[in-house]
């Protein structure tokens, strides 16, 4: 039982971090960014290249991965999203294509084989009777720090408040002196950075492979649909619901059923409460 609680907490923190960047773009940019997985892939591979292949300190590897993720987010907004503004389907198709191109590029550069990321911190610790690697513990603690910093930024700064304003009423934001394009660009940059950070931790939790982008995107979509758009707290809570659901299914039922109950949850929420558990009706 304690094993389930500890593993559930650890996995949920990671899921929350991964979903947070996806939720920001969905809430503020009103875009289903299917290329979100590209940040995750690039983050993982960038960290691998800098810290394991070039031998740089892990901190540099992490910061490099986050910086490249942010840069890709900014470029994606400038080169794809802004020119296609107003055409949601075109943006979704273009971002999906971009994710596939990123996957092919990484195969060309790093090869098709999966790679193991060395632990961020090697070793194992016993938490409440459950064996936990320092690696996943560090990933979870970092996830929480990043999520809390994001929450403080969105709730407590003028730029964060502007992001909320743009998500609720773009015209209202514009006549308040906010440039929605600039706020959208910042949001895409932050989303890219969060995705890349999540990619480093996700790859260290599982493994690095050119196919690793798909599972986190599905998890992110699930969390945002079930949680509802626009709520950091909602995203956090639903990440825990889904994290615990998966861990419990694996421990009690069968590993093969891991994602099935999550999908059932999505369908149930779509039918019963389309705006999500914590989302609110659009005004």
């Amino acid at each position: 039982m304690m094993q389930i609680i500890v593993q559930g907490l650890l996995l949920s923190g990671l899921y929350a971090l991964i979903a947070m960047g996806f939720m920001l773009i969905f809430s503020i940019g009103r875009t289903l960014n299917l290329a979100y997985g590209a940040y995750i892939m690039v983050g993982g591979y960038m960290y691998f290249w800098l810290s394991q292949q070039l031998g740089m300190p892990q901190v540099i590897g992490f910061l490099g991965a986050v910086s490249v993720g942010a840069l890709i987010g900014l470029l994606k907004h400038r080169l794809i999203v802004k020119p296609l503004k107003g055409d949601a389907v075109a943006v979704e198709i273009a971002t999906l294509i971009l994710a596939l191109i990123t996957q092919f590029a990484l195969v060309l550069i790093f090869g098709d084989a999966s790679k193991i990321l060395l632990p961020l911190i090697p070793g194992v610790v016993t938490v409440a009777g459950a064996q936990v690697t320092y690696n996943i513990l560090a990933a979870t603690v970092m996830s929480w720090i990043i999520i809390l910093a994001l929450y403080a930024f969105v709730r407590g700064t003028h730029t964060g408040r502007a992001m909320q304003a743009v998500s609720m009423d773009e015209k209202g934001a514009a006549i308040s002196g906010i440039d929605p394009d600039r706020i959208n660009m910042i949001t895409w940059g932050i989303s890219g950075a969060l995705g890349a950070a999540g990619g480093v931790f996700f790859a260290s939790y599982t493994q690095l492979s050119p196919q690793m982008w798909l599972a986190p995107v599905i998890i992110s979509v699930a969390i945002v649909i079930v949680g509802g758009i626009g709520s950091i707290i909602g995203t956090l809570i639903v990440a825990h619901i889904i994290g615990f659901l998966e861990i419990t299914v694996v421990a009690v039922l069968a590993p093969e059923l891991r994602g099935v109950l999550t999908m059932v949850l999505i369908i149930g929420v779509l039918i019963m409460r389309p705006q999500g558990l914590f989302g609110r009706e659009e005004h």
């Binding site: 003028h158 408040r161 009423d169 015209k171 209202g172 006549i175 308040s176 002196g177 906010i178 440039d179």
Partner: protein, 232 residues
Amino acid sequence: MIRVENLSAFYGKAQALRDVSLHVDEGETIAIVGANGAGKSTLLDSIMGLVRNTGSITMDGQDITGRKPADMVRMGIGYAPERFNLFPHMTVRDNLLVGAYTARDEIEKNMAAVHRLFPRLAEREGQETSTQSGGERQMVSLGRALMTNPRVLLVDEPTIGLAPKVCVEIAEVLKRLSAERGLTVIVTEQNTNFALSLASRLYVLEGGHVTAEGTADELSKDDQLAKSYFGA
């Protein structure tokens, strides 16, 4: 202070304004009157840079045509639109703070001024605007525009759907802003009596075009206008 010349505005291929010209001097209040669909909101949206337009808009002699809304706010133009465009899941205080995005050095001063004008907003600053009445939302909308520290205030149909008592309250606030702060005000209205109680000059907008302009006395001499707009 603001001069609009030959302004035409478009939604896609549809033309909503045709060669509109008007001016407002510093500290003056003017009103744009007209029926539904006359183009009143489009005119204010165009001045604010929200609608594609041609023609010329100058402020203090400087050409500001085609600038973004954020630039207009920085130039000193505040806007309270007809549908308020508030942030429904934010509190009253946060809505007002968003208005301070370009005037961060004067938040406390401007917030205190807004609370003096609308004491109800101070009492309900923790309330989400989605749960407020129309009159309260109008107050938040005007308050948010004032938080931008404007020299010119654009107010789009401030009385629409509001109780007569609230309309009087809004009119008093606009008069105080003009008298005490020397604010320049452009207000659009269907309610001509309300417009007359505030404005020194009126423009009549019909079908996206200015068909008459002048003081109330001048306009009331035209029988057809008097019948249509002044209840004669």
